[in-house]
Subunit: 387 residues, 2 copies
């Protein structure tokens, strides 16, 4: 199988992802944000995103330029009012960013840190909410990109409902594939990326939120740039952004959402990713690799594997060997040492996953690696460390 030259290399990473030709083509044109065609595209994109989140008529989708991390900061600054207090859950690098953000902006907050390789339990969340009764908002990451772990937003939403807390969700790695019913879960605000499972170019994030909560948030944000109320007011009234918008990223996002819809929406995309993930994990296991997470908790977004326990193994060499064959992978980004990750999302066919695994085998063989799995003893230690 040959790569399409334009897609070379294939990005087997959890973002930026490989995007399809239709999205690339949309980025070939230069437009002003004020052109009727651009205003219509933005309106359609906002409407479709609200549909995906089951937020039509109740919520609103706000485009927000820059990294989705910015949008997370904007959500905290906009939705947690003066006198509010945030409970931040973390079990990985992306949860840790939320904590770091709160510290830097001096947002009153508590941290609920749970083990990195399993979902937080009902008890853990319940205890945190009971102990910190002055908490007004809870924020968590849906799929923790640093491991691929799915965090149980449904369970937390139920707890937030009974404890009367507002729920904020970083759905950057999950939105567009995993089902999220904002209205049913009563999620006050949710952050997603045009990249990741939406498969558009990076550089434009979105916030979908409860319209009533947004209306109450006027004047909360102690930052002009990060004021989602203000951004929404301008976008809703004029169809344009407050500041020069990333027009190519907007066109790319709109094209990507059209492709998403034509493919059959989030359910179809999840099926495709699951097919990729099953192929990847199955083939890797046949080689002797072991994955970090129990399958029940693993999102088909990115898979984390233990590194081979072999003196000849060297991640940098594996990266270079894969890159020379047109595949980009990423190291682990977790408290758990000696792991690496392979992404399953983006415009990648199932065959790309098989080819990637065969390439890993060949690259490791060339390196002199004979044993692909971790040592039994190491596994036991890691398992202990993870609990």
């Amino acid at each position: 199988m040959e790569h399409d030259a334009k897609h070379k290399p294939w990005l087997l990473i959890p973002g930026p992802v490989s995007i399809c030709d239709a999205v690339h083509r949309a980025m070939l044109e230069d437009h002003s944000a004020g052109e009727p065609e651009m205003i219509a595209a933005l309106r359609a994109a906002r409407g479709y995103l609200a549909e995906l989140a089951n937020a039509v008529g109740w919520g609103t989708a706000i485009p927000f330029p820059g990294s989705a991390t910015y949008a997370n900061e904007a959500v905290i600054r906009t939705f947690v009012p003066q006198g509010g207090r945030l409970l931040v859950h973390t079990n990985g690098a992306y949860g840790d960013w939320l904590v770091a953000m709160c510290r830097r902006m001096e947002m009153p907050h508590e941290v609920l840190r749970t083990a990195p390789a399993r979902p937080p339990s009902h008890d853990e969340f319940c205890r945190a909410l009971t102990v910190n009764s002055d908490i007004t908002h809870v924020m968590m990451v849906h799929v923790e990109t640093s491991s691929g772990l799915i965090n149980p937003i449904e369970m937390v939403a139920e707890l937030c409902r009974s404890h009367r807390k507002a729920l904020l969700v970083d759905a950057v790695a999950s939105f567009g594939a995993l089902p999220i019913d904002m209205r049913k879960l009563n999620i006050e605000a949710l952050v997603l990326s045009s990249n990741k499972c939406v498969e558009g170019p990076p550089g434009l994030a979105w916030v979908i939120c409860d319209r009533a909560a947004l209306d109450r948030s006027a004047g909360n944000a102690s930052s002009l740039s990060f004021d989602l109320w203000d951004q929404h007011e301008t976008v809703d009234r004029t169809g344009c952004f407050r500041f020069t918008p990333p027009t190519h990223a907007i066109r790319g996002a709109y094209a990507a959402l059209q492709v998403h819809q034509e493919e059959g929406g989030s359910a179809a995309r999840l099926r495709r990713y699951r097919t990729n993930w099953l192929r990847l994990v199955g083939d890797m296991r046949r080689l002797g690799f072991e994955s970090l997470l129990a399958d029940a908790h693993a999102a088909p977004i990115v898979a984390t594997f233990h590194e081979p326990h072999d003196e000849h193994y060297d991640f940098r060499k594996m990266y270079d060997g894969m890159a020379a064959n047109g595949f980009i992978i990423v190291p682990g980004r977790l408290a758990v040492p000696d792991t690496f990750r392979i992404g399953c999302i983006g415009a990648l066919p199932e065959q790309a996953m098989s080819l990637a695994v065969r390439t890993i085998r060949d690259v490791l063989n060339d390196m002199g690696v004979r044993r692909f799995g971790p040592l039994e003893r190491r596994q036991a230690e890691t398992a202990e460390q993870l609990m």
Copy 2:
């Protein structure tokens, strides 16, 4: 003359600008930020920007995703320390954004507001600095995009030197064309866009700053996202961003900077823009239009014209007529009513300006407009209002 279909419409606006084929092509490839090729491109782009600003060996260029307005907020948050106080100069919409930003972040500041259609005087700045002796930093817009006015950063830099104030400059509309010698002017930090005179895609801003001042700024920013010290530390050490970067915008910016260098740098670009501007203003004046600014103070970036004083004139109709012919223009954004703007920057040939003016003439004729200039009386009133 025909438009290249890919460039249709031509953007006669001060951003986003029309970009060239080489830049579009660079955006057709998907890459991970960690690939050696991407790291090398980012390093080269940073080096070239520092060269353009005469900041090599003294300063450093920091890529900053999102709108350049974000980067302005990041500069204020990063460079003005606890206990600092900012003097913000404004004479237009972009200066007003800086003021609004300071208000929202509760940054101690004073506002120096001067008339919109002439540069601020030495006396005005001198008085502001003398009256507010506790000022530590001055921030100003170099070219005020809402009018096209060039603000005298050289004069203010001299005052800042003698009053021992640090100078921060929003050079979004000028960098890449107008000469700016950061080292000679002792500008502590300067914001630019990959778009505008650099002619790359929008969505990636840059801050060039005095390295020593940056080193002193660690921990200043009360925002993780807007901490330039932190962004610089990661970019300098790893060649990557802290958060998922806008990879296509980075590739586009790098390609645009290569084109900029091949064209002959900022001086060559300024010559091209000046040719465009002279053609535009000359042709418009021959039709009877009058420009808002005295030529000596007008940047060849965007020209502001008084609207025709004719009962048949309607900006919306003129916009639509121009758009139907493949030209996008923008309304005025100024305290001065009844103006409109035409941009001269981007990948536009001189002939595009002539064609644009002929199209304006035809569109206005079709509309029944006979008189293209403003009334004498109105002019006199406006002149008074502007002083």
